[in-house]
């Protein structure tokens, strides 16, 4: 198993009363609350943590999110470029540029190719569909976001691999008549691709394409369901069974000298859920295209219907799901497989329990710093993890995915 460290570089310094007053801590919280000096310090610390991971034998992953306290990485390629130059051994995963937000995805291919050349072929490319408040922040139509996602991947893939002069693309969502990127990628074939998705239909397409399927904070049930949809889609398409190197899971990870210390750090990581998830309803349940219209009875109402049980297939309120995540305690997060925290032994066991529950995966994306966690705390957790957990995870070999699942 490989481990990929990631930090979204959240901004935990907005006064609580301003957060309480705001209806959303993303998209519409004025940037007067974002102090450039504090931002500079955060970038310095977090980039240093990435360099430490390189020393400790971990790979790195960089996300992208926009206009909110949850992340200062509005430009994934910018950070990717820095890491491509400064990191010497680790593989670097962009997870990823939010392609459906970018009107010209050929530029994304150029950025990826440049990072791959600078790092001499250590780039891995991840795609994330984006959604919620980022549609407003980026002026991106939430309708047909999924269609744009796949067309953008097709176009970027071709731009990264086509070497015989300009080609033209006149698709449904993207048109570009003269595509011929320089430099071309360092890697002779298309860099390995990843996609972060939890919905089974997207996971199925990820499976058919042989892309690494990343589940982020979905817990064992959601992850098992998505992984199963992925495997089933491959089987139905007559494709060979995937190995575990096509599956990944992203969770909060904190290691301490004691169980209590690990959990205390884990509680700080949960700031991402209990503070930075606050969305106004227009970015959540009322965002067009987010849920099928048939889900509206569950999402539009402020309270469930008193009379009788819900109709079969009725989807629970998006707001209720978000509220449940926002109020999660460290112990609950541990039980739900969102947080692996404690001593090194305990963290290893928690990871392996999850591994068994979902049918295996070769990649752990470790969200190791968030919220009020300090640079010193992050470094200590990383060092403990790399010394006492990482070697054991590295011993886990690639096997057939879903080896212990009923559908395998």
């Amino acid at each position: 198993m490989d481990v990929w460290y990631q930090c979204e570089i959240p901004y935990p310094y907005v006064p609580q009363e301003a957060l309480d007053r705001a209806d959303s801590v993303r998209a519409s919280l004025p940037n007067k609350y974002c102090d450039p000096a504090l931002s500079a310090q955060l970038f310095e610390e977090c980039l240093d943590e990435y360099l430490l991971c390189d020393e400790l034998g971990m790979n790195v992953a960089i996300t992208e999110h926009h206009a909110g306290i949850n992340s200062l990485i509005g430009s994934n390629p910018m950070i990717l470029g820095i890491l491509a130059r400064q990191i010497k051994k680790a593989r670097i995963l962009s997870l990823g540029t939010l392609i459906t937000l970018r009107p010209d995805v050929v530029r994304v291919a150029e950025e990826y190719a440049t990072a791959d050349v600078i790092s001499r072929g250590r780039l891995e490319i991840g795609f994330v569909k984006s959604g919620l408040s980022e549609m407003a922040s980026n002026n991106a139509n939430p309708i047909d976001n999924g269609e744009r996602f796949w067309e953008a991947i097709d176009l970027i893939s071709k731009a990264l691999t086509y070497q015989d002069g300009p080609f033209s693309w006149e698709g449904k969502h993207y048109t570009h008549r003269h595509i011929n990127i320089w430099p071309r990628p360092y890697q002779p074939t298309l860099p390995r691709m990843w996609a972060a998705t939890g919905d089974p239909s997207t996971a199925a397409e990820v499976g058919r394409r042989g892309i690494v399927n990343v589940l982020v904070l979905r817990g064992p049930e959601g992850t098992r369901t998505a992984f199963a949809a992925n495997r089933k889609a491959r089987a139905l398409a007559g494709l060979p069974k995937s190995m575990t190197d096509r599956f990944a899971y992203a969770a909060f990870v904190a290691v301490g000298d004691t169980e209590e210390e690990g959990l205390r750090l884990g509680a700080k990581l949960l700031w991402f859920l209990n503070t930075s998830l606050k969305h106004a309803p227009q970015f959540l349940q009322f965002l067009p295209g987010t849920a099928p219209p048939e889900a509206a009875p569950g999402t539009y109402r402020t309270k469930p219907r008193a009379a009788g049980p819900g109709k079969p297939g009725q989807v629970p309120s998006v707001g209720a799901n978000a509220a449940a995540l926002m109020s999660v305690t460290p112990e609950q997060a541990k039980q739900r497989g969102i947080l692996f925290a404690g001593t090194a032994d305990s963290v290893y066991q928690q990871i392996m329990k999850f591994y068994e529950a979902v049918g295996g995966f070769d990649h752990l994306a470790m969200i190791g710093r968030s919220g009020p966690m300090t640079h010193a705390e992050t470094e200590k957790s990383l060092r403990l993890f790399s010394r006492d957990v990482l070697p054991r995870l590295k011993e886990i070999k690639t096997v057939v995915a879903g080896y212990n699942q009923q559908d395998a």
Partner: protein, 263 residues
């Protein structure tokens, strides 16, 4: 708000689109193009206008119970669909009335098919850009808090704004469908055609621009400018009404608009 959506049972098949249509009344035909929501068949203004005109109110593809073909999804498609609808209706001339988003469509149609249009009524219509680049003319109904959208949309929100908790499942599903469809057609550029203003001079038909005096989605001053861009158009304000004067002040609305259509 009533549970009468299912009463809109008439269908009209045009250009590969199967449209549900609300029909009401007798008299000179009026093609009514709806706004953010498809027309509620139980809305009192329909009966009021129906005493003086024949109202034909299709739901746009993707709205209400009108399915959207997979290759259909732009304002261009909507305008050309309604050109086909004009051809399909058994009348030499039809008056056009557009509410809000449908007002944008009505203005586009009037520019293109003037000879087929008898009279034009634009009600709190969208579709043009007036102010500078950093001054939005039209409230961003997708990116503003729903409470703000309600506050701006109605003169008396407590009385008129929809209560989702009181609505039936099917009504909520239709609203969500409408919201998705509106977003598909109107997200970018947001609810206007940058070139529409350039061509409004082509509208030669008698035109009435009607506005709710309290409209905060798109203010009366926008309506006044809209009217000035259409040769000979008259502008009328309806007091104590927001973005939906046909609902909040249906009697006053019917009196003004019905009189104009029948004149």
């Amino acid at each position: 708000m009533t549970n009468a959506i299912a009463a809109a049972t008439e269908r009209l098949s045009v250009a590969g689109c199967d449209l549900e249509v609300v029909r009401r009344g007798k008299g000179r035909p009026v093609l009514l193009l709806h706004g953010f929501q498809n027309v509620d068949p139980s809305a009192p203004f329909l009966d009021g206008l129906g005493r003086q005109a024949e109202i034909i109110a299709p739901s746009h593809p993707g709205f209400g119970d009108s399915k959207r073909p997979v290759d259909f999804g732009t304002i261009y498609d909507l305008v050309h669909l309604y050109l086909d609808v004009l051809d399909a209706l058994p009348y030499e001339k039809v008056s056009l009335m557009g509410f809000s988003f449908g007002g944008w469509l009505a203005a586009e149609l009037a520019i293109k098919a003037g000879k087929r249009i008898d009279r034009l009524v634009l009600v709190d219509a969208l579709g043009i850009k007036i102010s500078g680049p950093d001054t939005p003319d039209i409230l961003d109904v997708f990116n503003k808090h729903p409470n703000e959208v309600i506050r701006c949309g109605w003169h008396d929100p407590k009385r008129w704004a929809p209560d989702y908790d009181a609505m039936e499942d099917e009504q909520l599903i239709v609203r969500a469908r409408n919201w998705d469809a509106l977003c598909r057609y109107g997200w970018h550029p947001y609810m206007y055609n940058p070139q529409l203003k350039r061509w409004l001079h082509r509208i030669k038909q008698p035109t009435m621009v009607v506005w709710g005096a309290s409209d905060g989605i798109v203010k009366p001053s926008y309506g006044e400018t809209y009217a000035k861009l259409i040769p000979g158009a008259r502008f009328e304000l309806i007091p104590d009404a927001g973005h939906y004067p046909e609902i909040e002040q249906s009697d006053a609305f019917v009196k003004r608009v019905g009189g104009f259509l029948a004149s």
